[in-house]
C-alpha cells in the first residue's frame, strides 16, 4: 500500500482491509506498552490539515504519527490561510512545497480529499470529507468488531440514526459489505438517503427491524441542527422513537456490541446506561482508532509497494 491515497473504502480490496487490520493489531500492542515510540517514520513529515472542527480524529492521527516517530504538524481552519481566502489548491501546494510526506485532511466538502490527491503528490489520507467518507473511522469500526466477534463475515450490523449526513455510515457500508457482513440501515425516513440500493445493504424505516438479531449496533450521532432544519420534530420524540436504550437493545442478540463514532448525545440517540454498559465498545474504539491510523500511516509511507 506504499503511496496509496486513503480516500474511501470503495477502492480497498478485502486483502488490503485485512492487511490494515493485521498491522493495527501489532500497533495496538505498542500503544499498550510502556515506550510508545517506533522508528518506522523517523525523518518523515505529516501535516494534519483540519478545515472542520475535530478533537478525536485529529488527536488520534497526531498521536499515531508521533508514536511512529514522524514529525507531525496540525493546521486548523481558524489558523490557516483559508480564512484569508486562500484557495484549497494553493493551501495544498504550499504544504507540499515544505516537503511533507503525507497530508491528513478533514474538510466540509465532499470530494475534497480526492481533489487534493489530484493537486499534490504527498499521500492524502481522508479524515472525513463532508457526508462522503471517513475511511479510518470505518476501518477502526471493522477492527473493533473483529476484536470482539472474532470475525466480520456473516455478521448482522445495524447502523442507526442520521444515515443521510453520515460519512461514517457511507464508509462502514462499503467496508462491512466487502468483508461479508450484512448491513441494515435505519432511521427516520427524513435522515435516510434515497436511492441507496446496494448488495448486502437493507434500508429500514422501522428501527426495530434493523435491530432484530443484530450482532453489532452502530449508533450515529444526531446533530441538533437537523431538528432546526425540520428533519425531525424534537429531540424528545427522536429519543422515544429512534433512540437506542436497553429495552430496545433486547431485540438484538444477547451479546450485541454497541459502537458510536462519538461524541455522543446521551439521552438522544443513545442512553447513558448503554454508553457505559457491558455491550459498549465505545471507549475501545478510541484506542483502536490510534492503532488503525498508525497502521495506515505505516503502510502508506513505509509499507511495501504493490
Amino acid at each position: 500500500m506504499l503511496g496509496k491515497n486513503i480516500l474511501r473504502l470503495e477502492n480497498f480490496s478485502p486483502d488490503e482491509i485485512r492487511l490494515v487490520l493485521q498491522t493495527a493489531r501489532t500497533m495496538k500492542k505498542i500503544i499498550r506498552g510502556d515506550v510508545k515510540k517506533l522508528p518506522n517514520l523517523r525523518g518523515r513529515a505529516i501535516v494534519n490539515l483540519f478545515l472542520e472542527p475535530s478533537t478525536r480524529t485529529r488527536t488520534s492521527f497526531e498521536l499515531a504519527g508521533k508514536y511512529l516517530g514522524a514529525d507531525v504538524v496540525s493546521i486548523n481552519a481558524s489558523t490557516s490561510s483559508i480564512v484569508k481566502g486562500e484557495s484549497l489548491r494553493d493551501t495544498l501546494l504550499t504544504i507540499e512545497a515544505m516537503g511533507v510526506d503525507a497530508i491528513v485532511m478533514r474538510h466540509k466538502a465532499e470530494g475534497a480529499a480526492e481533489y487534493a490527491s489530484k493537486v499534490v503528490k504527498p499521500v492524502i489520507i481522508n479524515a472525513g470529507d463532508g457526508a462522503h467518507a471517513h475511511p479510518s473511522q470505518a476501518l477502526l469500526d471493522l477492527f473493533t468488531i473483529e476484536q470482539f466477534k472474532g470475525r466480520l463475515n456473516g455478521l448482522k450490523v445495524a447502523i442507526v440514526g442520521d444515515i443521510l449526513h453520515s460519512r461514517v455510515a457511507r464508509s462502514d457500508v462499503f467496508g462491512l459489505t466487502k468483508m461479508g457482513a450484512e448491513v441494515h440501515l435505519a432511521g427516520p425516513k427524513t435522515l435516510l438517503p434515497r436511492f441507496f440500493n446496494f448488495d448486502g445493504v437493507t434500508v429500514h424505516e422501522n428501527i426495530d427491524a434493523a435491530l432484530e438479531n443484530a450482532d453489532v449496533v452502530n449508533v450515529l450521532r444526531i446533530q441538533l441542527e437537523r431538528q432546526q432544519s425540520g428533519l425531525f420534530p424534537s429531540a424528545r420524540e427522536y429519543a422515544r422513537v429512534f433512540g437506542i436504550n436497553e429495552e430496545r437493545l433486547r431485540l438484538a442478540k444477547d451479546d450485541a456490541l454497541i459502537l458510536h463514532p462519538g461524541p455522543q448525545n446521551k439521552g438522544l440517540e443513545i442512553s447513558n446506561a448503554l454508553v457505559y454498559g457491558e455491550h459498549s465498545a465505545i471507549h475501545e474504539q478510541v484506542q483502536n482508532g490510534v492503532a488503525v491510523r498508525m497502521a495506515l500511516l505505516d503502510l502508506t509511507l513505509n509499507g511495501e509497494s504493490k
Partner: protein, 437 residues
C-alpha cells in the same frame, strides 16, 4: 494548430456565392443541393447552379448550408463579470460554434432590469458587431422576485424576452403578474424551473450517485413542481411561458400535456441534458456542475422524445463560462455552469445525428427556425431578402475538444477531451464570411 482556428474575415466586397452545398432551410422547407447567393449582406437567391459571377465564392460541396444558428440562452456576463466572459470573447465563441444570433441573460452585475441598461447593452452589442446579440431583461427588480421590473420600458429599449434565470421565482403572485402585465406584448417569460426550498445547497441530481458521494441533491421533483405551476399559470392567464433548460422526464410529460390543452408554453433543452447523466459527476472536477443538474438516462431518453415530438421547441447551450480559478475548487463550492457555444453543434452531430437519433433537418430546425418563431426574431431563415446569416457545417470532420482552442474565457467543460465528428466550418453574419477552417 492555432492558425488553423484563427478566425479571419475573407475579403468580401458586395457578393458571395456559396456553391454546391446541401441547403437545409426548415422555414422554407428546403432540403436540396443548391447555391446560395448573398448580395450586400442579404440573401439574394437560393437555387441550383446560380449563374452569377460573385466577388467571392465558397465551395460548399459536401457541406451543409443552413441559416445561422440561434442560441436563446447564453450568459455573456456583461456588464460586470468580464473575468468570466464579455461580448467580444462570447461573440468569437459563438462564431466558432456556428452561431450568428445569441440572446444573453440578465443575471449580471448589476442585473439588467431597466431600460437604461438594456439600451446600453443593445448599443454595446452593435459596437462589438461580430454576431447578433439579443438582450434579455429581468422579470423582477434585481431578479429578487419581489417587484416587477419596468418591463414595458425594457421592451421599448429593445429587450427580446424576460427571465429571472439562475433561480425560480417562488412568489407565484409576482410571476402571475408578470404574465398578465406582458399579455399582448408577444414577449415571452423564460423560466428557470427548480422549486427553491427543494434544491437549497444541492450540487447534483438527487439519485444513486449523490447517495454514494454524500453530496446534497437537487431532486427532479423540484423541477416538475415548478414546471407544473408555470404551465398552470400560463393556462390561467393566457401568458407566454418558455421553460428553460429542461432536464426531467416528468417535466417533459407535464409540458406535453399542457401543449395538448393549447397552453401557450414552449420549452428548450441543452446538449448536456440530452446526452449526459449523473454518472459522469466527478467531485474533483466541477465542470459537470450545472443547474438543473445532469440526471439519468431515463431523463435523457424523455428529453430526446420530447424534442422529436415537438414538446421541446429548441436547443440552447446555456453557455455559462466562469473564470478558471472560480471553477477549480471543491465541487460543492464551485459556481454552476460551463461554456457551451463551441461544443454544442459537435456534440449534437456526434451523439444525436450520427447515431441516427435525430435527423439533420430536425436538428437544424430546433436551432434556427423554431427559436426564431417562438421569440419572433427576424432570423433563422434563408428567405430572399433576409439578413445573410448562414452557417456552413461539415458533418464528417473529426476533431477533439481542447480548452486551449476555446475563444470563450471559460475553460472547464465536461466535453474537454471528447472526440467529435462534425462542426461549423464557416459562419456568415450579414454577409460577412468568417472561415473557421
Amino acid at each position: 494548430m492555432n492558425n488553423l482556428w484563427e478566425i479571419h474575415r475573407a475579403e468580401i466586397k458586395d457578393s458571395l456565392l456559396i456553391r454546391g452545398g446541401r441547403v437545409i432551410d426548415p422555414a422554407n422547407e428546403i432540403d436540396e443541393i443548391a447555391d446560395v447567393l448573398i448580395v450586400d449582406g442579404k440573401i439574394s437567391a437560393v437555387e441550383p447552379d446560380i449563374k452569377f459571377s460573385a466577388q467571392n465564392e465558397y465551395n460548399a460541396a459536401g457541406k451543409i448550408v443552413v441559416p445561422g444558428l440561434i442560441d436563446m440562452h447564453v450568459h455573456l456576463r456583461e456588464p460586470g463579470q468580464e473575468a468570466k466572459e464579455d461580448f467580444v470573447s462570447g461573440s468569437r465563441a459563438a462564431v466558432a460554434g456556428g452561431y450568428t444570433t445569441v440572446a444573453t441573460m440578465p443575471n449580471t452585475s448589476p442585473v439588467v432590469d431597466n431600460a437604461a441598461l438594456v439600451r446600453s447593452m443593445v448599443q454595446r452589442a452593435k459596437d462589438v458587431g461580430i454576431v447578433n446579440i439579443k438582450i434579455i431583461g429581468a422579470v423582477t427588480k434585481n431578479q429578487k422576485g419581489e417587484e416587477l421590473a419596468e418591463l414595458r420600458d425594457m421592451i421599448d429599449a429593445g429587450a427580446v424576452a424576460f427571465s429571472d434565470d439562475g433561480h425560480f421565482d417562488d412568489n407565484a403572485k409576482i410571476f402571475m403578474n408578470a404574465l398578465d402585465y406582458l399579455h399582448g406584448t408577444g414577449k415571452v417569460v423564460i423560466c428557470h424551473e427548480e422549486e427553491t426550498s427543494l434544491v437549497k445547497d444541492g450540487a447534483m441530481n438527487e439519485g444513486r450517485r449523490s447517495a454514494i458521494l454524500g453530496i446534497k441533491g437537487r431532486p427532479s421533483v423540484a423541477e416538475d413542481i415548478a414546471v407544473a405551476r408555470d404551465c398552470l399559470l400560463a393556462e390561467y392567464t393566457g401568458g407566454r411561458v418558455h421553460i428553460a433548460h429542461m432536464s426531467s422526464a416528468r417535466a417533459v410529460e407535464i409540458v406535453r400535456d399542457a401543449k395538448k390543452r393549447g397552453v401557450n408554453v414552449t420549452a428548450e433543452v441543452t446538449p448536456q441534458h440530452l446526452t449526459m447523466t449523473e454518472d459522469l459527476v466527478d467531485p474533483t472536477n466541477s465542470a459537470t456542475k450545472i443547474n438543473p443538474p445532469l440526471r439519468t438516462q431515463k431523463d435523457c431518453d424523455a428529453l430526446i422524445a420530447g424534442l422529436l415530438d415537438g414538446t421541446i421547441d429548441m436547443i440552447v447551450t446555456d453557455h455559462s463560462p466562469h473564470a478558471a480559478e472560480e471553477k477549480d475548487r471543491e465541487y460543492i463550492y464551485a459556481p454552476s455552469g460551463f461554456p457551451g457555444l463551441e461544443t454544442s453543434l459537435g456534440i449534437l452531430l456526434t451523439d444525436l445525428y450520427h447515431r441516427n437519433i435525430i435527423p439533420l433537418p430536425k436538428l437544424i430546425s430546433k436551432m434556427t427556425y423554431e427559436p426564431a418563431k417562438v421569440f419572433r426574431l427576424d432570423a433563422g431563415t434563408l428567405s430572399i431578402g433576409a439578413d445573410a446569416d448562414v452557417t456552413i457545417i461539415d458533418t464528417e470532420l473529426e476533431w477533439t475538444v481542447d480548452a486551449k482552442n476555446f475563444y470563450t474565457r471559460g475553460s472547464h467543460s465536461p466535453f474537454v477531451g471528447r472526440k467529435l465528428k462534425g462542426r461549423a466550418v464557416a459562419t456568415i453574419v450579414r454577409g460577412d464570411l468568417m472561415k473557421l477552417l
